[in-house]
């Protein structure tokens, strides 16, 4: 039972990270019907930028660990968001009217460019986040010891997701995003500046991915330039699991995938962990292609 709860909490923390990345996929897919293959690499860039900010600005020394990490996360999110907008401008915007496959290939190209730029700038070896920058303590409940970091990660993910959900559902701009996801032309006729909506989506999604990157750095302590690919694919699986284009779906899908994977690793086999995730993906697509929460694919972003 102890193993079960340990893996459950671990799965929830990792799942929260998957969910954050998945939101970027789902938002872009919702509005543009494009799989942004470079999204995973934006997540990697977030992790590396976070590390650079952490070590070069020594924010945590001046502001204390919590405020320091908070500020650097916000900075990393902003930077990654800007890179996201630039990515759209350079690689996707010229292809809005082209066949879908062109944008997919362009996205793959952009992914290669990003991961190799990270490698050229930071070197091919893994980089290490300072150990226990926030806390390396554990809390004890019912004889279980749960690292505080796990709780912090999960809590931050949930806060970000709730904030995003409220933004999309309650604000005027959020309504514009939802409208553009249903029908771009109709939205344009209603006076919505679709270009600006797309720009916003390409800011928010990558920013959340960047936050996830910083979290992975803090949680595992180690990052490398190729990690975006596997996290990206897992997150995409999460987005499909929940129903792509559907924001609550991405959240549920992410958490669920994290838990399935963690339990699978514990009870089936560690070595097959990634295969379990992809197996889930294939099964979902065969049995229920619209995902768990996705009745109307594009209508609910």
């Amino acid at each position: 039972m102890e193993l079960f709860f340990t893996q459950l909490t671990n799965g929830l923390a990792v799942g929260g990270i998957y969910a954050l990345i998945a939101l970027g996929y789902t938002m872009v897919y919702g509005v543009l019907k494009l799989i942004n293959f470079a999204h995973g690499d934006l997540f990697t860039i977030g992790a590396y930028l976070g590390l650079t900010l952490l070590t070069s600005l020594s924010l945590t020394d001046h502001l204390g660990p919590v405020a320091g990490v908070l500020l650097l996360s916000v900075m990393a999110m902003g930077l990654v968001g800007v890179i996201g907008i630039l990515l759209d401008r350079a690689a996707y915007k010229p292809l809005r009217t082209s066949p879908r496959l062109s944008a997919v290939v362009s996205a793959l190209g952009a992914s290669i460019v990003f991961s190799n730029t990270v490698m050229l700038v930071y070197g091919p070896n893994p980089k290490v986040y300072p150990h226990g920058i926030l806390t390396s303590q554990a809390i004890h409940i019912f004889g279980l010891s749960i690292p505080v970091m796990r709780v912090i990660i999960l809590a931050s993910c949930i806060i970000l997701m709730v904030a995003l959900y409220t933004f999309i559902q309650k604000t005027k701009i959020g309504t514009a995003i939802r409208a553009a996801a249903i029908d771009q032309d109709a939205a344009r006729l209603m006076g919505i500046n679709v270009d600006r909506v797309i720009m916003l989506v390409f800011f928010i999604g990558p920013a959340l991915g960047g936050a996830a990157g910083v979290m992975v750095g803090l949680y595992y302590g180690q990052i490398n330039f190729t990690m975006g690919w596997i996290y990206g694919l897992k997150a995409f699986t999460a987005a499909i699991l929940g129903g792509i284009g559907n924001i609550p779906g991405a959240m549920v899908g992410g958490l669920l995938l994290g838990v399935i994977e963690a339990l699978g690793a514990a009870y089936i086999s560690m070595a097959w962990k990634d295969a379990i995730a992809f197996g889930v993906l294939i099964l979902i697509l065969i049995v229920r292609p619209t995902g768990l929460l996705g009745e109307r694919v594009a209508e609910k972003i």
């Binding site: 290939v105 290669i112 694919l233």
Partner: protein, 326 residues
């Protein structure tokens, strides 16, 4: 197309063929080996082209079939000592059977979803190979000691006898081009192109779309499996690393960059993606970066590929419409 352009085209093709045939006479071992790789990837590209170019199915897991062919060859050759070239059809059949089982439930998926499923498939195959499934794949270390191909008792080691191996792969490439050219202009090929350009219309006019798509998938897999034999016997050693998702991406790029649905396009794609980077060895670190930038630029400025098929043969724009049924 004007007569003058056809003439130029023909001249260029003839020159390329002549230079290709005599390549080992004026190239050193290193460059001959590069051409051997180009030829292998050209065959892989052509086999993927049946699925992606003619069938319009976004398939990014082709390395899985290539791997199954290579592993079938390696396992049977090292266990029973059967000559590798005899194993070629068997490698193809194994890959084809696997494709049949895998493709059946996923063939109806919409473009992007198919892409993701096939990526998942190639990753599962790779993980299975690493985890030494059934205890026969040799795990992460792979399989050593595969025999070299031999013709009339004369063994051709792909590393040492690059020149002889060159003619072996070139022969295979030539057969592939010929067969796939005939296929393209056959009833089967025309039906595929038709259903690729408008699936609903094709279905309406009585074409069994699911059946044709499945057949294209299995045929492409069969051919990739046979190519796997050639690869395994060339380097006499295989490991899961050789069949990563990246390999699938390379094959995908070869088809898209050269011109999806066009045989000369795919051949050019193989030359550009496998051969050209070798010239820039000095820029080793920047190679992938440049490659990525080139892909983006290519899609922005010439999304149909460098040598797309003639418009009346096959409308490239139609790839977009392959999302009719989920």
């Amino acid at each position: 197309m004007t007569d003058a352009r056809t003439k130029i085209r023909k001249t260029v093709y003839t020159l390329v063929v002549v230079f290709w045939i005599f390549a080992p006479l004026y190239l050193n071992n290193y460059w001959t080996d590069v051409l051997n790789n180009v030829a292998i990837y050209a065959v892989l590209g052509l086999s993927l082209n049946i699925i992606l170019g003619y069938g319009g199915m976004f398939h990014m897991g082709h390395a899985a079939f290539y791997a199954i062919g290579a592993y079938t060859t390696a396992i049977i050759n090292t266990t029973y000592g059967i000559p590798v070239l005899w194993l070629m059809p068997l490698a193809g059949i194994m890959a084809g059977l696997f494709a049949l089982v895998v493709a059946k439930p996923i063939i109806h998926l919409r473009g992007d979803y198919l892409l993701i499923v096939t990526i998942g498939m190639v990753e599962i195959v790779r993980i299975a190979l690493i985890n030494n499934v059934f205890g026969i794949t040799g795990g992460a270390n792979g399989i050593f000691g595969i025999s070299s191909p031999s013709i009339f008792g004369y063994s051709i080691n792909g590393i040492v006898h690059t020149g002889q191996f060159f003619y072996l792969v070139t022969g295979f490439l030539a057969v592939t081009i010929l067969l796939f050219y005939l296929l393209e202009h056959s009833r089967f090929g025309r039906a595929l192109k038709y259903l690729c350009s408008d699936e609903i219309a094709a279905e309406g006019s009585g074409i069994n779309t699911a059946g044709y798509k499945l057949a294209a998938f299995v045929l492409g897999a069969f051919w990739a499996g046979m190519t796997g034999t050639l690869y395994a016997s060339k380097i006499t050693f295989i490991s899961p690393e050789s069949f990563s998702f990246w390999e699938s991406v390379v094959m995908f790029m070869i088809v898209i960059l050269g011109g999806s649905g066009s045989i000369p396009g795919v051949l050019l794609g193989a030359i550009l993606i496998i051969g050209l980077p070798e010239i820039f060895q000095g820029l080793q670190q920047y190679r992938l970066l440049i490659f990525g930038l080139a892909l983006v630029a290519m899609m922005v400025f010439r999304p149909q590929g460098i040598l797309p098929p003639k418009p009346h043969e096959y409308p490239v724009e139609s790839l977009d419409e392959s999302e009719v049924s989920l």
